[in-house]
Symmetry: C2
Subunit: 537 residues, 2 copies
C-alpha cells in the first residue's frame, strides 16, 4: 500500500471501476455536462521551490527534502487541499520534513527552529481539513514539518487500571494491533482512523466512536507529555483531580501551537462482548430529532446514536425514508444491553419511530474468535461505507464537483432554527456560486443531553478551476449561519487556519488573552504552527 | 437560623446534648485526660485591626466594615481555620466585605482594587479548607472579600435542552428550590452543599453527588461568564465543542485567581424516578477494593459507589465489619435500574462481598409527591450523617482533638501502596506530634474506571493551643506520602494557599508557565486572590 500524496488514504484504495460508475451516476442529475476526470499531476512535475534552509549536521539525518515528502506534507486533506493538489497548486510546501526518532529529537528540532525563526508544523497524520498542517507562515524564514510517525510505540500497559502509555505518532490500526494482545482497545474511531495519529487526535480534540458519553478523546486522557520551546513536562497520571485548572485540557485542542504532544497515558476499554443494534425509521424529521433527544437525555448511553436525514439515509445507507433514520447501537464488555436497546426503541416509538426489522442480535455475546473488533453485519457495513466516504469525495473532486462536509454543535432549543438557517444558507450559496442546485445533507454524529452535533454534507456541480473558490464561498456562508444560530464553528474538525475568523468571534475575550499569553510563555519566538488558533506574531 | 462566624454552618445546628455526649464517648479512648470544651470568643472581643482602606463613595453601599462580617470572612472552614477562630487568632481579616448587587459592581470593585493595589478575594460560600479565601496577602495595601450572595438568581431555564443560566452566588438549597418548579435539578451535592455556592463549586472544581461518571461539576458546565480586571467574557452555550482548548476548563479550578465567575449555564437533570440501593460487606479490604474496581470498570455507572473501610463503616454507618462496606446506589429518571444493581451485586459476590439485607426498593418508582429530592430511608440517613460530619468535627476541635480529613486520587495499580503509605505516614505523624495514638479512616468518595478517589479521616488527641501546629505536621507528612505514591494533592478540595507546595511539584512546568502568563494577562496588577495556585506577585 502506498499513501496518496494528493488525496485521501492509500493509492490502491482510490475509487475506480464499478464504484466510480455508480458514484458518478448518483451525481449526474446535478450537472448539465458530463463530469470529466482531472487526474493528479506527477510529483516530478510540481516544480517545488528549493528548500530555503538546510538542517544543521546534528539534525540532518532526521530531515528529508525529498519533493514527494514535501508535496505530501504541504496540505491537509480538506476538499480545498485535494483540489489544489490536483491543480499542482502547492504554494507553501514545507522546506523540510523532519521525522524525530526520540523525544529528544523533537526538543532539538524546536530549539533549532526557535534559533532560526523557522516555523515548526506538527503534522499528526496530516488529515486536517482546516489548514491546520499547511505551512502558510509568511513571517518565518522557512517551515519544517514535524512528522512523528517513528514515535509509534505502546510503551507501557497497566491492565489493572486499564490504561497505556503510548507515543503520539502511532496511527489508529497499529495502535489497535499493539493493544489487542492485552485484551484492550482505545475504542476511538474518528473517520480518519486509518490515516490519523494519537497525537493528532489529542491536539485537535478528535471526536470518536462513542456517539454519547465519551465523545471527544479528551475524556480518554489520563496524562500528557508535551515538548515546548520553553521546556518539557508531563502531567501526573490521575483518574481525576481538582488541583487547579486541568493542565491536560489546555493542551488538548492546542493544535501544535503550545507544544508537541509526544506521549500520553490513555484510558482503555476491554473489547465489547455484548451488543445490540437497530435502526429506526421516521416519517417526519422533527419527530426523529425529538426521539433522538429523548434517547440522548435518557441516560441509556448508546455507543451509536446517529440520526440520518432522508438525503443521508439514501446516500449512505441506501434507505428511502420520509423523515430520517436513527441508527442505534449499545455495547458492553460486562453485561447484556438488549434491555437498553428495548427502552430506546420504546422512546422512539413514542415519537412515531418504526424499528427497521428486528433488532440485531440483542444480548448475543460475540462468538469466540470473531475477527472484527467492531462486529460483522450492519456495523461492519456502516463502518466500511463510513471509511469509503473520503475516497468518494476525492473521486468527485477530480470530476469537478464541489463536495465537502462541515459540522457544528448546538443546544437542542437552538437546533431547528440552526438546521433551517444553515441548510438555507448552503442552498443559497450553492445557487449563487455554481448557478446550479446542490444536495445538502445532515446527520448527527454525536449527541449530548443538551444538544446534538449536526454534520452537514454538500454536493454541488462545480466549474473546474474554480471549485476551491466556490467551496470557500459556500463555507463562508454556512459558517456565518452557524455563528448566527449559536453553534460552534467546529465540533471535532479543529480550528486550524481556515476556521480562525469564526473561532475568533466565538472565543471569549478573556480566554483569548489567556491563550495568547500562554502561547508567548511556551513559544516565545512564535515558531510553533504559526497562525493556528491565535494570530502569528 | 444564623450562620456561625467561627465554625461550620448554622449556630443552631451545633452539636450539643446527647449527640455531643455520644461523640465524646466515642473519642474518649484516644485521650488520657477528659477533653475540655473551649468555646469561641465573642466577636466583640476579637479586637480586629481597623480597615486599612475606605471604599470610594460609588462603592460604599456595597461594602461592610462590620467586625462580625470581617471575622466571618477571615478564614475558610478547615480544622485549622476553626481552631484559630476559637483562639481568636484572626491575623488577616479582610478590611472590607463587598457584596455586589449586579455584575457591573464586580467589575467596578475589581477596577478599584486594581487601581489601589488591594487584594480581591472571591469568597463563594467560604467553605474552603485550603486557605483559599483567607486574605494572606502581605504584598497588598489591603484586602476586600467579594461575597456574591446577592447574585443568587436563576435567570433562565431551557427545559428542552435541560439547562439553566444561574448566578454564581446562589447556595445549594436555594438553587434546588428555584429549579424544582421546573422539574429539574443540578444534582450536585458536595458535603458543603448547604453552605457553598455555585461560583465556589465552579472555581474549585467541586466533587459532587455522582460517585461515577459526572464526578466533578466541570462536566455539568455548558458555559461560563467571567469578570476579570482585563475584561468580561462569556463562552458560547454549547453541548460540546472542539474549537481550540476549552475556554471553560481554564476557569474551572481557577480559584478566583483569573477572574470572578458571575454566571454559568449548567446542565440539569430531571428528578430520578427509579432507584435501587444496597450495601455489601466484605471480610477483606483488598477484596472490597477489587470489587469496587470491578463495578467502576463495568460501565454500570452507579450514582453512589462509596467504599468505607472498617473504621469508616463503624463511625459513619454503625456497621462492624472486617474488610469494608460498599454502598451502592443507582438512579434514573427514565428506566428501572434494578438490573444494574443486580449485576453490581454479582460483581461484588465474585469478590466475596455479601449484600447487607435485601436491596432497597429495586425498581420501585418514587411515590408521587414524595418530598425529599434524595428519597427517604437509607439514602436520607446517610445524607443526614454526611451533613453532620463538619459539625461534629467542630465539636471535637473545641474539645482539643485533632480532627480533619484529606483526599486524593490515584490509579488502581497505585492504590495499595498509596493506602499503606499514607496510612502509615498518618499514624507515624500522629504519634510523633501528639505522643498518642489516633484513628485513621479511609473511604472512596468517587471512583473512576482507572482509579479511586480515597478520602482519609484522622482523629487524634491534641494539646490545646497546639492543635493547629499538630495538624499541620500530620498534613505535611500525609501530603508527602501522597506525592511519593503518585496521588494528586487534592481530588476536590482545591489548592488554595495551603496545598501550594505539593501542587507546585505536581503541576507540569509548561502548564505552570502558561497559567502564570494567563494570570498576568487577565490580572496585570495581581490583585485577584493573590497567593492561590501561583505565587503572588
Amino acid at each position: 500500500m502506498a499513501r496518496s500524496w494528493w488525496g485521501w488514504g492509500n493509492v490502491e484504495d482510490a475509487v475506480r471501476g464499478a464504484e466510480l460508475t455508480a458514484l458518478l451516476d448518483r451525481v449526474r442529475p446535478l450537472s448539465a455536462a458530463e463530469p470529466a476526470d482531472h487526474p493528479p499531476p506527477a510529483v516530478a512535475d510540481l516544480d517545488l521551490p528549493p528548500p530555503r534552509v538546510a538542517p544543521p549536521a546534528s539534525l540532518a539525518a532526521l530531515c528529508s527534502a525529498d519533493p514527494a515528502d514535501r508535496a505530501a506534507h504541504a496540505h491537509g486533506k480538506a476538499f480545498r487541499d485535494v483540489v489544489r493538489n490536483l491543480h499542482g497548486d502547492l504554494r507553501h510546501p514545507p522546506d523540510l520534513v523532519a521525522r524525530p526518532r526520540r523525544e529528544r529529537d523533537v526538543a532539538d528540532l524546536l530549539d533549532w527552529c526557535t534559533r532560526e525563526n523557522i516555523a515548526a508544523i506538527p503534522y499528526g497524520g496530516g488529515s486536517s481539513v482546516v489548514g491546520g498542517v499547511e505551512p502558510r507562515c509568511p513571517g518565518h524564514r522557512a517551515a519544517v514539518t514535524l512528522d512523528l510517525e517513528r514515535l509509534d510505540a505502546v510503551l507501557e500497559v497497566d491492565a489493572t487500571s486499564r490504561a497505556a502509555r503510548i507515543q503520539a505518532g502511532v496511527y489508529g490500526p497499529r495502535l489497535a494491533a499493539r493493544l489487542r494482545p492485552h485484551g484492550l482497545a482505545l475504542r476511538h474511531f474518528p473517520q480518519s482512523y486509518e490515516f490519523s495519529t494519537l497525537g493528532g487526535w489529542l491536539a485537535t480534540r478528535a471526536g470518536g466512536h462513542y456517539a454519547t458519553l465519551h465523545t471527544h478523546i479528551d475524556d480518554l486522557v489520563e496524562s500528557l507529555r508535551v515538548v515546548s520551546p520553553a521546556g518539557t513536562g508531563e502531567s501526573r497520571r490521575l483518574p481525576g483531580s481538582g488541583a487547579g485548572p486541568s493542565p491536560d485540557r489546555l493542551f488538548l485542542g492546542s493544535e501544535g501551537a503550545l507544544g508537541v504532544i509526544t506521549e500520553a497515558w490513555l484510558r482503555l476499554q476491554p473489547r465489547p462482548r455484548w451488543r445490540a443494534r437497530a435502526s429506526v425509521r421516521f416519517a417526519d424529521f422533527a419527530a426523529a430529532v425529538a426521539a433522538t433527544r429523548a434517547v440522548a437525555q435518557s441516560g441509556l448511553h448508546p455507543a451509536n446514536c446517529r440520526l440520518l436525514d432522508p438525503a443521508e439515509a439514501l446516500v449512505n445507507a441506501g434507505v428511502t425514508v420520509g423523515g430520517g433514520v436513527l441508527v442505534l447501537g449499545f455495547e458492553s464488555a460486562d453485561h447484556p444491553v438488549g434491555d437498553r436497546l428495548a427502552r430506546a426503541l420504546e422512546l422512539c416509538r413514542d415519537h412515531g419511530g418504526e424499528p427497521d426489522g428486528a433488532p440485531d442480535a440483542p444480548d448475543a455475546p460475540d462468538a469466540p474468535g470473531e475477527p472484527a473488533a467492531d462486529g460483522g453485519g450492519a456495523g461492519a457495513a456502516w463502518r466500511s461505507a463510513f471509511l469509503r466516504m473520503p475516497y468518494q469525495r476525492d473521486a468527485l473532486a477530480r470530476h469537478g464537483m464541489v463536495v465537502e462536509t462541515f459540522e457544528t454543535a448546538c443546544t437542542w432549543d437552538a437546533f431547528d432554527a440552526l438546521h433551517h438557517g444553515v441548510t438555507a444558507a448552503a442552498h443559497r450559496a450553492v445557487r449563487e456560486t455554481t448557478g446550479g442546485a446542490g444536495v445538502v445533507t445532515c446527520r448527527f454524529t454525536h449527541v449530548y443531553p443538551d444538544g446534538p452535533a449536526p454534520y452537514f454534507g454538500v454536493v454541488a456541480p462545480g466549474r473546474w478551476g474554480s471549485t476551491v473558490a466556490q467551496w470557500d464561498d459556500i463555507k463562508a456562508a454556512v459558517s456565518e449561519a452557524i455563528a448566527a444560530h449559536g453553534g460552534t464553528i467546529t465540533h471535532h474538525h479543529a480550528v486550524g487556519r481556515d476556521h480562525r475568523p469564526w473561532y475568533d468571534r466565538q472565543r471569549p475575550d478573556p480566554f483569548a488573552a489567556a491563550l495568547t499569553a500562554a502561547k508567548s510563555a511556551l513559544d516565545p519566538a512564535g515558531v510553533l504552527n504559526p497562525g493556528v488558533l491565535v494570530p502569528a506574531r
